[in-house]
């Protein structure tokens, strides 16, 4: 589904990604772990199409389409979804209106008519139940005055509504208490299928207790330096990142 080859990127002349290789297949959950500043968020932003980075080399293919040739909204229409680390406030635009616009713009791009209101409301009700959200939520201004946890839950709600092929969860666990974490993870698990894939970006093991990854990658200084199964996450939790750094130094 997603194939990243030798991706290099910099911002203001500073190289942040130094050759990323990553392959994610449908039905898989990948976790990318790593300390602050290792380039995890840069990677997710570049996949989604944020243009403040200079991509200096490599390629990103999504179902064989070259993502680098596409606008962010075109990538979204193909089914790429990014759950933002810091969701953005849009005053005066209700959650309902935002999701409605989002779904219908995506449908328009596919040549479909807008989703009938009744169908959309039904879907919203179901997904809200899944994420144990209050109905009042729908009428609030998007992310305005939301607590950290509410913002993250709202991201997952949007994901549930948009049913993407590839969901990238950028530190969705930060700002969530234990209960919210369980609810959000539960939602993600229920939405998982053979046809879609999830990339979970996180510092901590705790989210991975709930969303079990098939593959765990460790990112350090702009590179994926180690890849393993879920046991790698436990190892990291226990020992930190220093041992990997050491291992690397020894290989060099």
């Amino acid at each position: 589904m997603l194939k990243i080859d030798q991706l290099k990127a910099s911002i203001e002349g500073k190289e942040i990604l130094k050759g990323i290789n990553l392959e994610v297949n449908a039905g898989e959950v990948h976790a990318i772990m790593g300390p602050n500043g290792s380039g995890k968020s840069t990677l997710s932003n570049i996949i989604a199409g944020r243009d403040e980075y200079d991509v200096t080399g490599g390629s990103i293919l999504f179902n064989k389409e070259d993502l680098m040739e596409l606008e962010p909204e075109e990538r979204a229409h193909l089914g790429v979804f990014l759950s933002f680390q810091y969701p953005i406030e849009i005053p005066g635009v209700s959650v309902t209106n935002f999701i409605k616009t989002s779904i219908n713009e995506t449908r328009k791009a596919k040549g479909l008519d807008p989703m009938p209101a009744k169908e959309m409301l039904k879907m919203m009700r179901e997904k809200m139940e899944l994420l144990e959200m209050d109905r009042k939520f729908l009428n609030r201004s998007l992310n305005e005055g939301f607590s950290g946890g509410e913002k993250k839950r709202n991201e997952i709600f949007q994901m549930a509504m948009l049913e993407p092929k590839l969901a990238i969860l950028d530190e969705t666990d930060s700002g969530l208490d234990i209960d919210a974490l369980r609810i959000v993870a539960n939602g993600v698990n229920k939405l998982k299928s053979e046809d879609n894939a999830v990339i979970v970006i996180t510092h901590y093991q705790r989210l991975l207790d709930h969303i079990i990854p098939d593959v765990v990658h460790v990112m350090l200084d702009g590179r994926i330096v180690k890849t393993g199964d879920k046991t790698l996450a436990y190892e990291l939790e226990e020992k930190g990142y220093d041992w990997i750094k050491q291992e690397l130094a020894e290989t060099v």
């Binding site: 909204e73 953005i88 635009v93 616009t101 989002s102």
Partner: protein
């Protein structure tokens, strides 16, 4: 230029989409202004002597006045000798049905998406259409007549209800109030007159579409709305203008009189031709709008200003009666090289008077938008309350937004609150929307609509839809 700016520029520099004009024969008098011209206008309209005297008095005062220049706008002052002060379509005035209306005009309205037929059928709005200073279509008059509501052109009102006009005309905006009001008082050609009898709640929104439609013709509309004790009326005013090369002056005067316990809601969507990308051409919109509230009366102004090269406009409320209420809700959009200096004045005279001001400015391109507002609390206005909120939204980094709030309080029981914010449409917000599948234009439209929602909510439903469309068009570009 950063990508964000490039993109913003693209979406904020679209050409004026309503740039066409209708070919209707005109009956115009020669350009220039003199006592003779004033007499000629009055004679053409077959006015009584008192009306002519009133005009002449205004003209003499105007002749001694100077064009103001304290507002934060730059423009080439109009050549008042080059303006034609009267023009009327040659077709007979006052058709009984749409079939009698010049088909060219109907076509114009259809192109604007505001065809009379549609409006009549779908909304039940009585439309008094003002094209080139003279009313050419009046509808629903009979139905309103049953309730004793008068809704007609000012010209007709002067003929048919001279006592009412004489009693109220110029009582809120005196002829010598300011340079442009004086000019209007001398040469006003037509406009709307509306009278709601005591205790009557007007069952439909009264609506007038204005349209400048002859080269070189200044437009001097005069509107008078009188709401008798305990009555209610919602009045809509909207306009679009065809593309022009030379500047057109629009100096209207609107007077609202809300007697005891009456309520007037006055909504405007203004989309005069703003000039081209270089700021050439475009309408000068210098309007005086003011209402007076008697005891427990309420006046609410809502405006969506997207057009004009230069706008200079302060819909105001004189809260004369105790417990009266004044409201001002405004969205002012400037793009390209447009300039707007707009706001309101709330004059608290009576006790327990309340006023609310919500002003939202949107500046794009190289435009300049200013909010200028005065809240004045007089000595006897015990317990006056005001809440003001002035927000500015900037698009790109070449535009400007300014806020000039003036507060004068002469009674220490007054409570005045003022809030102001300035924000920019951020790359973050746009990227967030794009990630969710919205294109650039949709993203900006969504963000802008969210920003102005509080004001648009004040508009009647069908008008809010049109206002939203206008906002999108004025900020729309070549993208997509």
């Amino acid at each position: 230029m950063s990508d964000e700016n490039k993109m913003l520029e693209e979406v904020t520099t679209s050409e004026y989409k309503y740039g066409f004009y209708t070919d209707v024969e005109n009956d115009a008098i020669p350009a220039g202004l003199s006592e003779e011209v004033v007499r000629l206008i009055s004679a053409k309209k077959n006015e009584p002597q008192w009306m002519l005297d009133w005009r002449l008095n205004a003209f003499r005062k105007w002749s001694k006045m100077k064009e103001p220049n304290w507002q934060k706008v730059n423009y080439v002052k109009p050549d008042y000798e080059a303006i034609t002060y009267y023009s009327a379509p040659k077709k007979k005035v006052g058709p009984d049905s749409l079939e009698e209306v010049d088909p060219e005009l109907l076509k114009t309205f259809e192109r604007l998406g505001i065809s009379l037929e549609e409006q009549k059928r779908l909304t039940g709005v009585a439309v008094d259409v003002v094209v080139d200073s003279t009313s050419v279509a009046t509808s629903f008059k009979e139905k309103l007549g049953e309730l004793g509501i008068l809704f007609m052109s000012m010209g007709e009102a002067i003929q048919e209800y001279p006592d009412l006009v004489r009693k109220y005309l110029g009582t809120v905006v005196p002829p010598a109030d300011n340079f442009f009001a004086a000019l209007n008082s001398a040469v006003f050609s037509d406009g709307s007159f509306c009278y709601i009898p005591k205790g009557v709640r007007c069952p439909m929104e009264l609506s007038t579409y204005f349209r400048i439609n002859a080269a070189g013709t200044g437009q001097f509309e005069r509107t008078l709305v009188i709401a008798e004790e305990g009555s209610y009326v919602s009045y809509l005013e909207g306009c679009t203008a065809p593309q022009r090369d030379e500047n057109q002056l629009h100096a209207a005067v609107v007077e609202l009189i809300a007697l005891d316990r009456a309520e007037i809601k006055y909504s405007t969507v203004q989309n005069w031709y703003p000039g081209d990308k270089e700021g050439k051409g475009g309408v000068y919109n210098f309007v005086t709008k003011r209402g007076i509230c008697h005891e427990s009366a309420k006046i609410s102004w809502t405006q969506v200003e997207t057009g004009s090269a230069v706008t200079w406009k302060y819909p105001s409320c004189i809260l004369k009666g105790d417990n009266s209420i004044g409201e001002f809700y405004s969205v002012a959009v400037t793009s390209n090289r447009q300039q707007a200096d707009t706001g309101t004045k709330m004059i608290h005279i009576g006790k327990n008077t309340k006023s609310t001001i919500i002003a939202k400015g949107i500046s794009a391109g190289e435009s300049d938008g200013s909010y200028r507002g005065l809240v004045k609390v007089m000595k006897n206005a015990k317990n006056a309350r005001n809440f003001s909120q002035c927000d500015s939204l900037l698009m790109g980094d070449k535009c400007g937004a300014h806020t000039f709030p003036y507060i004068e309080v002469k009674n220490d029981t007054a409570k005045i609150e003022h809030e102001a914010t300035t924000s920019k449409i951020g790359e973050d917000q746009i990227f967030y929307c794009k990630q969710r599948g919205l294109g650039e234009e949709e993203a900006i439209a969504l963000i802008v609509n969210g920003y102005v929602k509080e004001v648009l909510n004040q508009l009647p439903m069908e008008f809010a839809v049109e206002a939203q469309k206008l906002l999108e068009i004025s900020l729309e570009g070549s993208v997509g």
